[in-house]
């Protein structure tokens, strides 16, 4: 899962739902939620635009960055 929405911090303002370019996020009764998480392309727009800092987007494991140290 790439998108984490803090249920306490979300004030259901709907900004993330309004701007999500992939139509991933939804708002019904209560906090925003990711209805189509597999269609998230990790652009980060919802993180930038959330007025309460309630959203975190991280890279999913299958596309996360790998590294070694030597």
């Amino acid at each position: 899962m790439a998108i984490f929405i803090d249920q306490e911090k979300c004030n259901s303002c709907g900004k993330c739902v309004e701007i999500c370019p992939e139509d991933v996020l939804w708002l019904e009764d209560g906090p925003a939620w990711a209805r189509y998480p597999k269609e998230c392309w990790h652009c980060g727009s919802c993180v930038y635009d959330c007025p309460t800092g309630a959203i975190e987007v991280d890279l999913e494991l299958d596309v996360s960055i790998r590294y070694v140290e030597f």
Binding site: D23, Y48, S64
Partner: protein, 579 residues
């Protein structure tokens, strides 16, 4: 069953697509007195390839470039010869970009985007940060572009443009020989929107990444280097309206190598990692050195910089062959100073989705100086670096009152999108002044869209759009880039047709319905790609070329144009002005 409501609008200029180019066109068309409507499939504040930002934008920079003896003509020749700005691959359009870019790009500063810095890092006169890209002089600004889409949206709205978001254009309206607007389906509301317009601009995405599948095997959208909206629908709309689409028979490489498992190299080892990025092998031998700039006040700036670029390119070109030979290579930032690391973090925070990469790395406390990131070899073929043909620098297509702009002309970055968008906005607004309001011919188009939508929604046990998309991607991946002959191409056409014949897309709601319609456009586009390759057979090498210079270099002065007439695909040859 959804009951679709029809809403009708009238405009002087209709713009399809609210990316950088579409919004730039809206701004200039309003400034030239036109009533403007933008139809945007997503939401203009965060849609398109620049949705969550760009950290750089290309331009000729008069005050700086002139001083070191680099003239607009030099940049035009470089852009054209380099081949890195495909699309139509036409010198008249590249010239349009270069000549207007100086004033157009810096105008963004007046929209509230920060272009001038005082921190002493990589500064040119005026506090500008010019960075290495693909030219013999730095021609890109680094700037705070994370919110460029919001800035352009706000400017367009201030000027009175009407932006209709979540509205997915399905067909151009055509009356006789002229385009007179478009019909669109709501993504979130059961609304069919009709816009009758004097002139119509396609400001749609250039590449169609979704024709080919993920090399990571990931089934998430993340692997795309462009948002899913980049499905080539501008090309299918144009072709259906009878406007030629060219260069469909070529593919570009999205990149020659990526970071494991991430989908995006961000110009590695330069780009957003400049100047400290290097490439090393498993023993720590340096394959690509870091690429530092030259002091601007150096009297030999131009020559020194040119030598540096050549040296760097030479090293960089070694990466892909070494990976192909089975060498293990790593991206490395071991030599970065603290200041440079801060600068790189700043870039990542403005360059679109690398803001999430930044968060990912920070959250895990990754020390960029210690971490070595394995490179994953390409190539990943990405069809297609094509564009919608325009007559001349007015950017009008061969179909009356239909214009194309942005990535449909030059597959560059934010700079080419902005500058061509502005120019097309002016041309379309001025043309609209000569035209009366078009007749409303939308009835049959609306009826067809309603039928199409209801049919897919009625297909409860139908194929999911994801399955339809993957079936096509697997098929094309098996063929793109291979040497072809007539027989193979005929067989490929058969395969695409059979697959399409078997496709029974179903959808449970409007979201899925719109995804299904995107997939139908991918099939439409695949048919055009195959037709273009069949037409091209006599002149060039392998279908979907994958040669070193990545992009088509027309040798014969001819572009193959593909369009539809009464639903049938037709091909034609167009003089592209190449020597």
């Amino acid at each position: 069953m959804n009951d679709f409501t029809v809403k009708k609008h009238a405009a002087d200029v209709l713009i399809i697509g609210g990316g950088i180019a579409g919004l730039a066109a809206a701004i200039r068309a309003r400034e030239h007195g036109a009533e403007v409507i933008v139809l945007e499939k997503s939401h203009a504040e965060r849609s398109g390839n620049a949705g969550s930002g760009i950290d750089h934008i290309q331009s000729y920079v008069p005050g700086i470039h002139e001083k070191v003896g680099y003239h607009p003509e030099d940049m035009i020749e470089e852009d054209y010869g380099w081949g890195g700005n495909p699309g139509l691959k036409r010198k008249d359009l590249i010239e349009l970009f270069v000549r207007n870019s100086g004033q157009d790009v810096i105008e963004l500063a007046s929209y509230g985007l920060k272009f001038h810095f005082e921190d002493g890092l990589f500064l040119f006169p005026g506090g500008l940060r010019l960075i290495a890209q693909f030219h013999y002089l730095p021609t890109s600004y680094h700037f705070e572009g994370r919110d460029i889409k919001r800035a352009l949206t706000n400017r367009a709205l201030e000027l009175g443009a009407n932006i209709i978001n979540r509205s997915h254009v399905r067909q151009l309206l055509k009356n006789g020989e002229a385009v007179t607007g478009a019909v669109a389906l709501g993504v979130r509301e059961a609304v069919i929107t009709v816009v009758n317009a004097k002139t119509t601009i396609l400001a749609t995405s250039g590449r169609a990444s979704r024709l080919t599948a993920s090399v990571t095997g990931s089934d998430s959208f993340e692997w795309y280097s462009a948002p899913s909206a980049a499905n080539g629908s501008g090309k299918t709309l144009a072709a259906r309206a009878g406007a030629e689409v060219v260069n469909l028979e070529f593919s570009s490489l999205a990149s020659s190598y990526n970071l494991l498992n991430y989908s995006f190299s961000v110009g590695l080892p330069s780009g957003s990692w400049w100047p400290a990025g290097r490439v090393i092998d498993e023993d720590g031998n340096v394959i690509v050195e870091r690429n530092q700039g030259v002091a601007f006040d150096d009297p030999d700036y131009r020559d020194k910089y040119r030598q540096r670029v050549e040296h760097y390119s030479e090293q960089r070109n070694r990466i892909a062959p070494l990976l192909e030979q089975g060498k293990t290579l790593y991206f490395d930032l071991a030599e970065a100073t603290d200041e440079e690391l801060n600068y790189i973090w700043w870039c990542l925070g403005h360059e679109g989705k690398t803001g999430v990469l930044k968060h990912h790395l920070e959250k895990r406390g990754v020390d960029l100086r210690k971490a070595k990131f394995p490179l994953r070899p390409g190539p990943r073929r990405e069809a297609v670096p094509s564009g919608v043909w325009v007559r001349d620098a007015t950017t009008e297509t061969s179909v009356a009152n239909l214009y194309a702009t942005g990535n449909e002309l030059i597959l560059g970055g934010g700079g080419t999108a902005l500058v061509t968008g502005y120019a097309t906005g002016i041309a379309a607004a001025e043309r609209a002044k000569q035209l009366g309001a078009p007749a409303d011919v939308s009835a049959p188009f609306v009826a067809a869209l309603r039928r199409e939508a209801e049919s897919i929604l009625g297909q409860k046990d139908g194929d999911g759009w994801q399955n339809g998309e993957r079936a096509l991607q697997t098929l094309l991946d098996n063929y793109l880039g291979k040497p072809y002959n007539d027989r193979v191409l005929t067989q490929l056409a058969q395969l695409v047709a059979r697959l399409r014949g078997d496709l029974r897309l179903g959808a449970g709601n409007l979201h899925e319905l719109n995804r299904a319609l995107e997939v139908l456009d991918l099939y439409d586009l695949a048919e055009l790609v195959v037709a273009a390759a069949r037409e091209r057979k006599s002149s060039l090498g392998p279908f979907i070329r994958t040669d070193e210079d990545r992009y088509p270099r027309e040798k014969d002065g001819v572009s193959v144009g593909v369009y539809r007439q009464d639903g049938e695909i037709r091909t034609t040859r167009l003089d592209n002005g190449c020597p």
